[in-house]
């Protein structure tokens, strides 16, 4: 009784093959990442120390630190967040809580998702046309940040929208039936429960904004500046562009320098992403409905 039949054997074999196949795919995915990070660590870490981070570049960017670029990246990301988060979250709230569920709303939703896939060079050209030229911001932190904001906006909207949608409808109904207005419902119940999800989406965009070169190259980031920016109307250096420059544009750069810059950049991105993951884990533990 209960002995395996040939069907069982066949199923077992398929099961094993599938397992191996997926294992190989996973390895194909992970190995390049491990190699990249390991290379960066090995070649970059000797040069990365406090003075590398807090000093200016020297000798035509062949020596010294990366401070102006690091500071510039922080400027760019911060200003772009100031623009994209309020706008994106407000748009998501409108789409999720106020807009009637009709064809137009769904088209807008679909369009937003597709906008997220537009190559960043297209955003860059839009930024030049709109912010640098039309609004006369010139090549400046403001123009570059707004360009980054435009680039990250679709994902901020979509991820916030999803976070809002994941708040159970029954909470909203409970509020409405007690006489709460839509805004009271959003403020007291929906947002507090969606905020962690919204934050995760935002942080993932932070790391994207920090890493992009194309959108800032023509709108406000400079290859080298002898001074730090004083206002959003100044140009600035930025890590991603600095990496591009020291890796390809400047002769006689010691090999470790670009690896050091890359290591810092990747470190920032990984740090931001781990914060997002941490928030998500906490969210999952807290949420029990």
């Amino acid at each position: 009784m209960f002995e395996a039949t040939s069907v069982n054997h066949h199923n077992d074999r398929v099961q094993k093959q599938v397992k191996i196949l997926f294992g190989i795919m996973l390895a194909l995915l992970i190995i390049p990442m491990v190699v990249i990070v390991a290379t960066l660590l090995i070649k970059g870490s000797p040069i990365v120390n406090l003075s590398f981070i807090f000093e200016d570049p020297k000798d035509g960017m062949t020596a010294g630190g990366i401070f102006p670029a690091l500071l510039g990246t922080i400027w760019l990301v911060a200003v772009s967040l100031l623009a994209s988060v309020p706008l994106g979250v407000a748009a998501a709230i409108y789409l999720s809580e106020y807009a009637p569920d009709n064809l137009l709303t769904r088209l807008i939703h679909l369009a937003t998702i597709n906008l997220a896939g537009v190559p960043s060079i297209v955003h860059a050209l839009f930024g030049v046309g709109a912010f640098v030229v039309f609004f006369r911001f010139g090549t400046s932190i403001l123009a570059a940040s707004l360009t980054l904001a435009i680039m990250t906006l679709p994902v901020v909207i979509v991820s916030s929208w999803e976070a809002l949608q994941s708040v159970p409808r029954s909470f909203r109904e409970a509020c409405w039936n007690m006489g709460a207005t839509r805004w009271q419902t959003i403020w007291h119940v929906v947002l507090p429960n969606a905020i962690t999800g919204i934050l995760t989406g935002v942080i993932l965009q932070v790391s994207r904004a920090a890493g992009e070169t194309a959108p800032i190259m023509f709108t406000g980031a400079a290859m080298f500046l002898p001074f730090l920016p004083n206002s959003v109307f100044d140009q600035t250096m930025a890590l991603a562009l600095h990496l591009f420059v020291v890796a390809t544009q400047v002769p006689n750069v010691p090999e470790s320098l670009p690896f050091g810059v890359a290591l810092v950049l990747v470190g920032i991105v990984l740090l931001m992403n781990s914060v997002a993951i941490w928030i998500r884990l906490r969210l999952r533990r807290k949420k029990k409905w």
Partner: protein, 269 residues
């Protein structure tokens, strides 16, 4: 559990809590309610029965005008709550919903503390930025929880989140409790016991019966025994129409319509 028709010594008949006249409702092009005429008497428990999809929830949700949130709902006809037409232009839905509380099938406490759940409605209607004094809030919370027979069970964990650690029965009682601080006069309940086990059902039924003197209660139920046990009057609906409305004893013993008899004897639905 005597019937409602005990007209007390020639006094004018009390105003009905809800008076529905020639009420029709469409979800888009689908008509869910047809020419509803109904008077729900003040201070009684009226149960609303009928097969699935006959429009019981829709009717209930029309009384606090929550259906209009859907955007694609059209209505024709009139609903009065204590003599006031609820669709009149000057009516503020928030004020209506203060007067008319709703309890759902699945207990849906908010993911905040038990205390804040009870205070939620009150805050929405009373606080304008100004904070409620702690002592006043405590009084409100205790009174509401006592009314729903939940005080002793939760008084030591008012600051715990209401969405974890409470039984479904306790959650449902809490959902009733949070309606009370704004002093509603009508409670609408949409199958309030159907997610509960028999013991919880009995407890919540007992509570509803306790609330009977203070509130007019309209309760949807699929449970014939419950309707029979725990209501003064009974309304039977079928396919978007009211078929019969009578004192509960009468409706269950000598139904006037064929369909009613078939339904309460379990021949369909």
């Amino acid at each position: 559990m005597s019937g409602p028709f005990l007209s007390s010594s020639g006094a004018p008949p009390p105003e009905p809590a809800i008076r529905i006249r020639e009420f029709n409702l469409w979800y888009g092009t689908f008509q869910a309610l047809f020419d509803i005429n109904l008077e729900i008497k003040n201070g009684l428990i009226t149960s609303l029965i009928g097969p699935s999809g006959c429009g019981k929830s829709t009717l209930l949700r029309s009384v606090d005008r929550i259906n209009e949130r859907l955007g694609y709902v059209r209505i024709r006809g009139s609903i009065e709550v204590f003599g006031q037409e609820i669709h009149a232009p000057q009516v503020e839905p928030a004020q209506l919903r203060k007067q008319v509380g709703m309890v759902f099938q699945r207990p849906n406490p908010l993911p905040i503390s038990i205390r804040d759940n009870v205070l939620f409605g009150y805050r929405i209607h009373h606080e304008k930025g100004g904070r409620l004094a702690r002592s006043e809030a405590d009084g409100i919370v205790e009174e509401a929880l006592r009314q729903v027979l939940l005080w002793d069970q939760v008084k030591d964990r008012l600051d715990h989140k209401a969405t974890d650690g409470l039984s479904l029965e306790a959650m449902q009682k809490l959902c009733i409790a949070r309606l009370l601080p704004v002093k509603p006069s009508i409670l609408l309940m949409d199958e309030p016991c159907s997610a509960l086990d028999p013991r919880g059902t009995a407890a919540v039924e007992e509570l509803i019966w306790e609330l009977r003197d203070r509130y007019s209660i309209l309760i949807v139920t699929h449970n014939m025994a419950q309707a029979r046990r725990a209501s003064d009057e009974c309304v039977f609906m079928l396919m978007g129409r009211v078929v019969e409305h009578a004192p509960t004893d009468q409706l269950f013993v000598t139904p006037a319509h064929r369909e009613t008899a078939d339904y309460i004897e379990g021949r369909f639905g």
